[in-house]
Each structure stands twice: as structure tokens, then as C-alpha cells.
Symmetry: C2
Amino acid sequence: MTGFSFTLNATDGRARTGVIQTPRGEIRTPAFMPVGTAATVKAMLPESVRATGADILLGNTYHLMLRPGAERIARLGGLHRFMNWDRPILTDSGGFQVMSLAELRKLTEEGVTFASHVDGSRHFLSPETSMEIQRLLGSDIVMAFDECPALPATHERQAEAMRLSMRWAQRSRDAFGDRPGHALFGIMQGGVERDLREESAEALRRIGFDGYAIGGLAVGEGQEAMFGVLDYATDLLPEDQPRYLMGVGKPDDIVGAVQRGVDMMDCVLPSRSGRTGQAWTRRGQVNIKNARHADDPRPLDEHCTCPACTGYSRAYLHHVFRAGEMISGMLLTWHNLHYYQEIMQGMRDAIAGGTLDAWVATFHAQRAEGDIPPL
Amino acid sequence: MTGFSFTLNATDGRARTGVIQTPRGEIRTPAFMPVGTAATVKAMLPESVRATGADILLGNTYHLMLRPGAERIARLGGLHRFMNWDRPILTDSGGFQVMSLAELRKLTEEGVTFASHVDGSRHFLSPETSMEIQRLLGSDIVMAFDECPALPATHERQAEAMRLSMRWAQRSRDAFGDRPGHALFGIMQGGVERDLREESAEALRRIGFDGYAIGGLAVGEGQEAMFGVLDYATDLLPEDQPRYLMGVGKPDDIVGAVQRGVDMMDCVLPSRSGRTGQAWTRRGQVNIKNARHADDPRPLDEHCTCPACTGYSRAYLHHVFRAGEMISGMLLTWHNLHYYQEIMQGMRDAIAGGTLDAWVATFHAQRAEGDIPPL
């Protein structure tokens, strides 16, 4: 596809590192994509998100179509210009959030009718309308419209949802058409059922996409079950195209996914955690509101080069969190996104150097130490 | 005083421009001081505050003594290090906010006993404890402890409060002692009563301070009454020392105060307005939540060089405000602080060039035009 390509540079075990080329810049893989739900990565300016090392953001079709509206964003020059981010943007299809957020949902073969959680207005999403909305937004990587059933779900329910998603994948492909410089990714479904995952992967490969996502994980099944699927699922997808694991995850989820051949991930966790006083560091999770930090002059992580760690003590971060100051969310989100990107860079380097096992061993050893003890 | 000095460089009418030298850097006057109440200028990183052109911040003794506590800040290396701002800081004395925020106040000749609005704990503020707290914070410019009576107040009540403040000013001077590189400012009181202002100024000059504040204004008396006091009050103060008008104000208040010989001001307005969707521009106030901005691709002010105006449309600012996103407060606060500092720089240049009248005429003419009409 003109202007969009994936180059695999090195592998280490099943882990891969490479580059996705797009007209808006390259995406180094494995890549972590911060989530900019409503045209902003919460508590961050876009230049700060870039400074953490992010090559690409994720935007939410469901949120943006409801507010401020896809047509409005198109009139204003597209999502990149609207939110002041000129690098690649991936948009989800809206399918997942219709199922988790919208009200009065009615699902048919044709698509989903629902009521906005913002103002109750009625909307319709289908493969065709999702493709049109993502086109209006100007997304660089467009996701096929799918259905992700709530868990727990029977094999029958999973099969039904997966097969509907595959029919929608074909309609998404047809509606997307040929858009040079823009990519369409299909989404594998099937929950934790291996036969369904195989059937789904085969259906997607038959249709043909620019990249392949693994959907329907990170929805409550637990890390062991997720890794269990990834143990075989990535091998079901084409080797020469990017593989995107949706909605993942905690740092150790991300590391395990990359070890299993995943190239791209997204998650609200680092930004959401930042706003609730949770920091992620090499040594695990730090709850900054804990009273033990009130007098601690040390940074969150003495080895971290983010603004939160180079400019402020734990005592300060504790104070501003307790006082409800916005700088708390601003600094902790920056730190978390910085740490996530540091993990990605570390893994990219390790895979390129053939030393991922050692890198992962160190990653787990540092976490096992736990946070620094109180002074 | 070693390490602290004021140099008057030029005057234009009663307006003055100069430089306050401190060991932590110079303060160009007239100066606007953003307010960092709880060790943060809300919604801003300190490097961003500096980027707007601020030479000095104001910290609130009352807030900081209650949370996180002055002793704690001292143990952590002082307020500058705590909040990551290495330039000058002025702290108020706590007197004003004890009167406006604290509960169960009891005022005696000795000082004020009160209950914290945060947790109900009992505290005592007096000239001596205020000096000690401001010393612990490491403030560069310390304010004398005063009483500012609520308005409306009779001449008798104003006289009583002013005379108590003058006795406290002497005690503040005595308690402050000799602290090279740190300045102590006295605060003139007397409300809108000229005889009391004269008596207060004389008392302060007799004691002798490194600078002089005009207190008891911007407390609801209105701009006309405030300017009425400033018409004579600045002339009651030494010409060769800085004059600080506390708690002012809107852009036109600031301009009128500088025209009347004021060198320094502070106000929460630009940052507070920014968090409530109010922007200040050359053409007056803009309420970004107004529906007229929803589709407007233009910046707040096409001549403004702040990040909000160079990176974002009114439509975006409207959207993120409506969506309750933190970036709304971050961008509008930055814009407002930038605009305030632009006013100060404009006046400093105009005073130096002897063209303040023309600058002020343009300032008012642009405001009279009002905001740009809808497209």
C-alpha cells in the first residue's frame, strides 16, 4: 500500500522489532500507543506526549463521533490538526466502546443502534459508518468494525460474535476502499477459544488487511489466559505485517505480549493511573498518596529522566496529590508515559541486540525488589 | 540591604519601570506575579510559568503552613526546591487569608488563633510566627503581618485595624531581623480613608522597609474607589523603593495601577479564569464555553504567541472545556498568564520609551472593539 509499510528489522525468539512507515512519520515497533480518547491524552500537551517517545496516538471513534462530532473535526481540518498532533493516529472502530459505554444498544446484522452516554442522542454504527467516521477523522490506521462480546461468554456466543465480526471485517474492507497512505487493520476475535481464533485468523487473512489486531483480550480474562492465547495467536497472523494487541496493559502484560510476537499495544492505564496517584516504576507500583511519602525527599525513581523525577520529590508529589492540584496528574501521567516508552525502547534495543531474555530477567528482578524502602 | 536592591530606570508620568535585584534573579518592574497558592501555579508546570515571562511567583503562607507545613518544606530544602522554581518568591503574611478562609478566628493584640479550613487543626499567626514561617519557606520577599478588615467598614474600624497593623508592622520588622538577600515589605492599610492612608504610610516609613505594599484594596470597593486611593497613595511611599499593590487584578486594573505608580501586583485571576473557561485577550474577555466557538477554526487571538493560540482553534478549546479535559485549564491558564506578562512587557517598554499614554490608548481601543465577530 502506497505510503504505508512495515519493515521487520530483527527478531529474538518470537519477539520482533521493526518500523511502520507512514506519510506522517515512522512508528518504531514494538510500539506503545498512549490513548487520546477525546482528542487529548489527558493531563498532557501533545508535545509532552511526543517527548516521552510516543510515535503514535490512539483516538476513540465512539467518543469523537459523539463529541465534538466527526463531521465537525473534518471541517476543522481533521483530528491531527484539531488536537495539534502531526504524527500518526490510530482510531479504534467504536465497536468496543459502544458495547461498554453506550445505552439502549440494539445489535443487528446491519450494525448497532445506540444512545449517546453524553446526551442521549441516537446514533448508528456499522462497518460502513465506522469507516466513514474514521475517514472524516483522518486516521492513519483505521480499525475494522467488530463486536467484542462481554465475558464470560459461551463458546457458542463467542463463535457467533466472531463470525459476525468477520462478516463486518469484509464489509469494513469493502467500505474502506483504496486510500493510499492509510492502513486498515482487521481484528481477530474468538475469546480464549483456540478453534475460533484459528477460524478468525483465516477469515481475516482471506480478506487481506494492512495489519492485524488481536481483539477480545484484556477484558477480564486475566494475564495467564491472555498469554495462553498469545502463545499461539500471533503465529496465526502474517509474519510480514504488524500485530496489534488492543487495550494492553500493565508493564508486565506488555513485556509478555512482546515476547509472544506482538508489535503494537495501547492502554489508558499509564494516564489513568497518573490521575489517581499511581506511578509505575522499574520497581513496581507506587501509590503516591500513601503517608510514607510525605517527607521523602527522593524522586519516584532516581534513574528516571522524566520531569517528575528530575524536578520533584516524592514529598512534593504526595502534597500536590493530597491538595488536589492539577500538577499531580500532569507530572504522574508524564512519568508513567515516559516509563512505558522506556520499556518499549528497552525491548526494541534488546530484540535488535538479541538480548531480550536478559532484558526481561532484569525487568522482573527489579520489580521483585519492590519500591525503595522508607528512609 | 545586601543582595536586594531596586533600581528605577525610567518614569513616564507617575508610571515607573525598573529592576529589583535579588540573589535569585532580577524582577523587571512593573511586574505581575502569578499566584502559586499551594506550591503550584494551578494547571502549570513552573518552566511554563517562566516561559510566559514571569520573574517571580507568589506563595500563600496560610495555605502552605497548613499543608504541607512550613517545617516540612524547610526540611525538604525550602519552597523553591520543593516546587522546582529557582527564581524569586514573594510570600504573603497569611493575615489576609486567615481572615477570609480560616474558621473560629480569634483576634487579639498578640495575633490570630484559628482553625484550619483543611482539617480543623488549631493554629496561631502573629507577626513573629508569620516571620518564622516565611523564613522556613525561604521566601525572598517577606510580607509584614497585617489585619485587613472586611468591607464595608466604618472609619473607626478601619483606623483601629490600620493601627493594629502598624504595631504588627513594627513587630514584623523586629522579628525579621537582618537577613541579607531577603527583603521585608510593609503593608499600608486604611481602606479608602485618605487620612488613615497618610497615617499608615508615615508609620511604615518611620519603621523602614525594603519595599511597601498597598493592602486593603481589591476587596470589593470597585475600580473607581481603588484608583481614587492610588491617585494619592503611591506618592505617600518612598520613591526609591518598590510599591506593591496586593491582589490586583483585571487587565485594566493593572494598567491603571501602573499609570498610578505601582511596581508590582499579583492576582489569581488569570489562572482561575483559565480553569473556568475564561480567556483574557487584547480584545477583552472570551468565554470559551459559548456555543459560538464550537466550529470556529481561529485561535483565541491571532497575534498571541502562546501555545494555546499557536496550536489550537477556538473550536478545540471549546471542545476540551465542554468535555472537562485538563488540557482546557492548562492551555487557557497558559494563555492568560502569557497575556498578562505581555501587558507588563508592553508597559515596561512604553514607560522606558516615554510612550505610555499612547500604549494605554491602544490598550483601551482594542478592548473597546470587543472580541472578533463570529465567522
